[in-house]
Symmetry: C2
Subunit: 338 residues, 2 copies
């Protein structure tokens, strides 16, 4: 198969699921219909060697993740992802089979989250793999949650647990160094570490949390997904809302595999939870009156509260000391505007 | 200025122009509103060394072009571009001033074509510059023009002229070779070649043609923009419409600078016009009954007609011979689906 047929090959059999996808792949532009909803739009650019390392990242997982991180941004607006375009820059190093794997991951994510692939392009690249995905989603106008709505006394909530994807990355980086130059048949022993690896290699977007909040009749006052680390995201919410916050170390949700790995690496666990990136959990604030309701939602934890701005943003440690939060972000070179 | 502030710096002062832009830069996703229109979506990925050469491409021009090529895809659907997201991958080689230049070009294009920048990201790259732009546009449902609507006896029309951008590229490539290793103070003499250089370095999208067609009450039966060359695009329209075509060599619109350059390079002018890419002119078909109306539109040329499919796609030369059209496309490695 010549390269000319590659995108046809990769996209064959793709059929739109949504009524909002009126025309998908195959013309100068896709045609979408949103008469009753607001349209949400987010984009993400992933570069080999900067955002992913193919030494330990299976291409199918990479495709899945590249799609899911965009869905996560749509959920973080309290919306539903509906369409994506996929642009790939591919060097000669990659075979058609490689691209099939990558696309299989993208398509799997789209099936799991019910999203239509409506366009994109493939192009040769001089070096490495480039993946650019743009996602369109929908939301009712009165349901959209921005970053700037947090109010004093609001409760700060987070889904799932923190720092796991970061520790998964540390583990993979260590094994890469250990294995470099050694017998390639030696397989690293990841037994008991499956969870943190999966958090790094195949993260999920928290569609379930958005659904549970809706079922409980809770509309957050502010929301973000955690891609750069809790500290960084919380500071965004506080800055844009013109508020401060207190987060309690003892309430930070951390999985035992994350904790075990941090101990093995002799790393500060709280720092990992605060600054580890790529968790793709949801960080949101709700009015104090929702205290009981939000506590009933499984896999959501209350970690602190919003304050007046003069108090700044601080972590309260187990012994009652306060430390100012800093945005050490997992990847300060990658700056998303949405 | 640290890199952390780069995207804030580049996007400062950007204010949405359109009512459809309800929330632009600054959250997990932009919020758009399209209650009465269809939404058009297109995307383009540009990689240094593959799609552009910074030896002779000023960054401001590159930014302008990167935006305009996306607008062109929206016009090719008979729509209006309204919003873009801009993602940049930037290696250490580039300064903040470089990125200011690039962004200045993108912003100028957005001002000229009245398009809002609503998001994106900047990230470091290991090598070279990566630009990924996604454009959202709007169109009335009954005005959208696809590629698949061409009918037998329809007239084939093209705006502007063909092959100019390609000849501009040839000129720049030649000067690059001539100047390599020589005194950098020697400036190439581009006198009399300004037009073809501008067509290559700072192309425009044919918003004016879309407006003129609307004013004349003409809705094309099929339309595309010419990014890969007339032959390639015409074959797309014929294939998707299930038709054939005849294009007349004598009617191909060619600027005299293009012709002069082709002679200087000893290249076949018709081949340049048929296969030269990046013209971003509009190729469209209209019913035969619009013959007089479409001829009255300035800067539109009738170049042939649609036939039944069994006749295939062919060029009719000045001496009456027929040659089958071939999609030699300017850049066969770049395959756009939209």
């Amino acid at each position: 198969m010549g390269e000319f047929g590659l995108i046809d090959h990769l996209t064959q059999g793709i059929k739109p699921m949504h009524a909002s996808t009126q025309k998908g792949i195959g013309d100068d532009a896709a045609v979408l219909s949103y008469p009753d909803k607001k349209v949400l739009m987010t984009t993400d650019l992933l570069l080999e060697g900067v955002h992913f390392d193919l030494v330990y990242t299976p291409l199918k997982h990479l495709g899945y993740k590249a799609a899911v991180v965009n869905f996560s941004d749509i959920y973080a607006m309290n919306g539903q992802p509906k369409q994506i375009t996929v642009s790939l820059g591919i060097s000669k190093r990659f075979s058609v089979e490689d691209m099939e794997q990558l696309y299989a991951g993208i398509r799997l994510a789209c099936e799991d989250y019910e999203v239509d692939i409506v366009g994109g392009d493939t192009t040769s690249s001089l070096t490495g793999l480039t993946i650019s995905i743009t996602c369109i989603g929908e939301a009712d106008s009165d349901k959209i949650v921005y970053r700037n709505g947090a109010q004093e006394t609001d409760l700060i909530c987070v889904s799932g647990n923190l720092g796991a994807a970061y520790m998964g990355l540390q583990l993979l980086e260590r094994e890469k160094k250990v294995l470099a130059g050694t017998d390639h048949d030696v397989q690293p022993d990841f037994a008991g570490k499956e969870y943190i690896l999966e958090r790094q290699l195949k993260p999920e977007a928290r569609k379930d949390i958005i659904e549970k909040l809706a079922q409980a009749g809770i509309k957050p006052t502010a929301m973000m997904d955690i891609s750069d680390g809790l500290s960084s995201e919380l500071m965004h919410i506080c800055k844009q809302s013109g508020k401060g916050c207190r987060v309690y170390e003892e309430h930070l949700p951390i999985d035992y595999q994350t904790a075990a790995m941090a101990e093995e690496f002799n790393m500060n666990l709280t720092t990992c939870a605060l600054n580890g990136g790529e968790d793709y959990e949801l960080l949101f604030t709700v009015p104090l009156s929702f205290h009981e309701k939000v506590q009933e939602i499984s896999d959501v934890r209350l970690i602190g509260h919003i304050t007046k701005p003069t108090l700044g943003c601080a972590l309260v440690t187990r012994d009652g000391q306060e430390f100012e939060l800093k945005a050490q972000g997992w990847n300060p070179l990658k700056q998303e505007k949405n």
